[in-house]
Amino acid sequence: MADVQPILQVKDLYKRFGGLIAVDHVSLEIHPGEVIGLLGDNGAGKSTLIKMISGAYKPDGGQILLDGEAVSFSTPLEARRRGIETIYQDLALCENLDASANIFLGRERMRHQLGIFRVLNRSYMLRESRQVLDQLDIRIPELRNPIRQLSGGQRQAVSIARAVYWKAHLMIMDEPTAALGVPEQLKVLELIRTLRNQGVPVLLISHNMQDVFAVADRVIVMRRGSKAGERRISETNENEVVGLMVGAEYTRVVKQLHDAPEEMHITTHDESEKEIG
């Protein structure tokens, strides 16, 4: 894998908002068929980093290379045109439309009526949607119902299917399993694996450690805007990752609390000392 040209390379990406440095010279690489977990506490800069890759923000410094070529997106649509599909937490779906309408949203397929009028080609869109959903083994029995009638997991699936259909080159997912029940979370993870197996790399933001460890190949941890660390999943464990997320100092405290609590002194505000034991 390491010899293959990375699909995405981010070099020294930098973004500040006024006095706050949101992303501080972060670099990373994603190769075909890799699932990268992007972890970090709130405010670590994960969302900002993602938004720069997907074209929602313009970087203040650094470079983004897609298939080796430097790119600069002024709008998310440009990123999408280059094959970077982003699935946001709110899914960006229209609840009142059905699955196939959502899959083809903004990219509707037309046909000619009476030779001169351009109208929606519903049968084509239904057929193609059915196909991509089958390909991803997503079961939606009645494709023509508005998606508000589908479960959360199925809606996620539609969102993913949309990205896949339009030949996503790189998939970015922001908290895909938040607000889903356990069986549905498993289904989404399965879809991510399917994507990986089809060679589509996935950059996954998640708070859910279990998910990340279940499905990712590598994990990149951010803390306070910079990259705190990067590990192969096979070579690390949850504790270490958490440690990277929250920082060494805090980790030491936690570790000590865990290992030798009797040696700890806890000071309360009224200056009286208590021993825990």
Binding site: R80, C94, L97, A101, I138, L150, P183, K187, N197, Q198
Partner: protein
């Protein structure tokens, strides 16, 4: 390459369809139909003379103004907005059409006069439509407020254009077209299209059977076009999309700003068309002719199943909504009931429509 999903409980299932509720489902979807049918039956039984061709044709012709405005409003409401300016845009357009048509000399062929009137009215309708659309789409001011402002502006503009007085058209031909029927049948078997047959010796006007009044024909054509637009075109689908989620539409690449402007222009154009129809029927144009119809046209859209939050609604629904209101108004006259009851009746139907809609959402 499929990963076997043996161990994973089937999260693919959507909530199982409650098959026992299927009949209720049909009723809730088709309730307005049923209601309409019941209304017609009720008034036919209780009101003498309600059920006849003449009455139904006149109901159709008289509801044309409201329905044409409501058709434009349907698109606006589905897209998540509202247009309060349509009444006065209709008035402004009627004044413009009347001015243009009455200024064209008698030597100009009638259909050119009509075309000129229509073109002028639609042209003037573009202005409030564009202003509404641009301010709503670009400046992000809520539609209620913008169109409320335009309500006042169009009203003033209409009165200024007309010099404060209703504008009459003296050219006789216009009114004849506006009130013409497609087919006239004489008792002696003769018939003609679009105008009364000549030589009406000994035949009283009431003996002539008239079929399909002009406003009704126009209404049917316009309704079909709007239905096609909303159902078959990309413009129609984008209308639903923007109403469902403006943000999702934006991210999907739908040109939301342009679309919104088009929607409000369309609404204004429909209001203008209603204005021209008014002028042709009444040989008259005035700034305030459309104002009494505004709330009725919005009510028709709501009764028809549209949600004020956007994303829902159909042309057919709006037609039924307008029909229900028109039939209530007409039927109560035949029943001989105090006409103030019609307001209560229409108000009750609006509330009923919203309640059924809520219940429908909970059932699914």
């Amino acid at each position: 390459m499929k990963v076997p999903d043996v161990a994973i409980p089937d999260a693919n299932q959507s909530q199982p369809r409650k098959t026992a509720l299927r009949p209720l489902d049909i009723v809730s979807r088709g309730w307005s139909w049923l209601f309409l049918l019941l209304l017609i039956i009720f008034f036919s039984i209780t009101g003498q003379g309600f059920l006849n061709i003449y009455n139904f044709q006149t109901i159709g012709a008289d509801m044309a103004l409201v329905l044409i405005m409501a058709l434009g409003q349907t698109f606006v409401i589905i897209s998540g907005g509202i247009d309060l300016s349509t009444g006065f845009v209709m008035g402004m357009a009627s004044v413009t059409a009347a001015l243009v048509m009455s200024h064209m000399g008698g030597s100009v062929p009638l259909f050119v006069v009509v075309l000129a009137g229509v073109a002028a009215a639609l042209g003037i309708g573009l202005i409030p439509g564009l202003v509404n659309g641009v301010i709503i789409a670009r400046l992000r001011v809520p539609p209620f407020i913008v169109t409320l402002g335009m309500y006042g502006i169009a009203r003033g503009a209409g009165f200024i254009l007309s010099g404060g007085q209703p504008v009459s058209i003296q050219t006789n031909g216009i009114g004849q077209i506006g009130n013409a029927y497609l087919l006239y049948l004489l008792p002696d078997g003769r018939f003609s299209f679009f105008h009364l047959p000549s030589n009406l010796q000994g035949i009283r006007p009431s003996q002539i059977v008239q079929l399909l009044p002009f406003p009704l024909i126009l209404l049917v054509v316009v309704t079909l076009i709007c239905a096609w637009l909303l159902w078959q075109t990309r413009f129609g689908r984008h209308t639903y999309a923007v109403g469902g989620s403006e943000e999702a539409s934006r991210r999907a690449g739908i040109p939301v700003v342009r679309h919104t402007i088009l929607i409000y222009v369309f609404s204004a154009l429909m209001a203008s068309l209603a204005g021209v129809l008014y002028t042709m029927r009444f040989s008259n144009g005035a700034a305030d002719v459309g104002d009494p119809l505004l709330l009725t046209s919005i009510a028709a859209v709501i009764i028809g199943g549209a949600s004020l939050l956007g994303g829902e609604g159909t042309i057919l629904g709006t037609v039924i909504g307008a029909l229900i209101i028109a039939i209530i108004q007409n039927g109560l006259i035949f029943l001989g009931i105090n006409p103030f009851w019609q307001f209560i009746a229409v108000g009750a139907v609006i509330i009923l429509a919203v309640l059924v809609d809520q219940a429908k959402k909970k059932l699914v």
